[in-house]
Amino acid sequence: MKIRVKEGEILRGRGEGQYELEANSHLELTQITFADTNLSQTFEIVFLGEGASCNLSFLDLAKNSGHLESIIHVKHQVPNCKSVLVHKGLYNDAAQGTFKAMVEVAPHALDTDASQLHRSLLLSPTAKVHAEPHLQIQADAVKCKHGVSIGQLDDKALFYLKTRGLDEPTARRFLIQGFAKEILDHIPDVESRAQLEQQVFAWI
């Protein structure tokens, strides 16, 4: 699916596809994906005009023996565009996650500002994640960064919550909800946000 964000427009989007951004447009993409079997999804963002920007917020949740793969490709082809990519993953049971991101900055895409961040929590000893952040920069005078952090639920935080009388499942749920919140907060509509919060909650 090809989606064109017209000059000066703001689009709130979700779902796989190729998003093309004209000058001074903005894309707010918030994608929350649940998987308990194998699933692969691909997103491509192409900057066609100057002054455009996008916020890409992903939350991947996989359980059982599901393998959830997210491939995200951001192409900075013109100068003065900004992309912010935050990908978070929650992997339980024997699930696997794959995060493959490529941010490409073309030779003439000067003053590009691009960041990509991946954070995931492995909720069981048998869950796995493969994180592959890539930056391909062919222009000078650009601002680009990337970061990856993979971990488990914070033992110190779990202990702190338990000393306040919360049992293990409740304490874990608190930390997982806290982790997911950064992405869920990008959903402006209160009702659909609450609905998704419930879904995340039920998924745990």
Partner: protein, 245 residues
């Protein structure tokens, strides 16, 4: 209330507490003082139920129960509270949501009805006024981005809210400026009652100027080497831990 008998605790193979005994009766305020590395924080953490420490000997009874057999949350629900030296930051978890869950967990064990959002807000605002805390605290994530003093006040707020039978305050004065220390001490003093006990764990005597203990104990190298009344704290301030009477 609390009886610790000849408690020995290791971290890995390393002995930290080497036979600590202590008895706290209802309504009493005890202070444990000692230099860094004496085992003060270990004692607090063991009482709260941290799993990194191995109890190799001794017993702890709290309100008639074998404390060491209980999970951290059981201890809390039974009325034991630890105010952390370093309260943990929990991003994304709203402070109000957290405080309400903690209170309702406790009310449930007391067979009291859970408070709804409105009643809870009314209650927490009263408690915050006591501690002169800004209501903005309620909107923030648990301890996230709080200054040292704000974290300690948030701990004191939880004592005021949860009304434990025994509150252990681990280095509560660290990170507090003198004004904040007075406010926190006032709120603790207001909670003193013939039924409620406190254990103040502190390196410095300063806190004890504001919360006057009934008993002071000196913990050195994993053992209590001296016990006395409140005047012992002042003597220590003069002579230091290295030169006991």
């Amino acid at each position: 209330m609390l009886e610790i008998k000849n408690l020995k605790v290791n971290i890995g193979d390393k002995p930290i507490l080497k036979g600590v005994s202590l008895k706290i009766k209802p309504g009493e305020v005890h202070a444990i003082m000692g230099p860094n590395g004496s085992g003060k924080s270990t004692l607090s953490q063991v009482l709260a139920g941290h799993s990194d420490y191995q109890v190799t000997h001794g017993s702890v009874t709290f309100k008639g129960h074998d404390l060491l057999k209980q999970a951290p949350e059981e201890r809390a629900l039974n009325g034991l509270f630890l105010a952390f030296q370093y309260p943990v930051e929990i991003p994304g978890v709203n402070n109000t949501y957290f405080l309400k869950a903690a209170l309702n967990a406790k009310r449930k064990t007391q067979n009291l009805p859970e408070l709804d959002a409105l009643d809870f807000l009314k209650l927490i605002k009263e408690k915050m006024a006591l501690l002169k805390m800004d209501e903005a605290f309620l909107q923030r994530s648990v301890n996230e981005g709080f200054s040292g003093g704000e974290k300690k006040r948030n701990e004191a707020l939880q004592i005021a809210l949860l009304e434990p039978d025994l509150a252990i305050l681990d280095e509560t004065d660290s990170g507090l400026d003198i004004d904040a220390l007075k406010i926190v001490a006032e709120s603790i003093n207001a909670l003193r009652s013939p039924k409620r006990s406190f254990l103040l764990v502190t390196h410095y005597q300063r806190l004890l100027d504001y919360i006057i203990p009934d008993y002071v104990h000196v913990l050195q190298n994993g053992q209590i080497t001296q016990s006395g009344g409140k005047e012992l704290a002042l003597e220590l301030e003069q002579s230091g831990y290295e030169n006991p009477r």
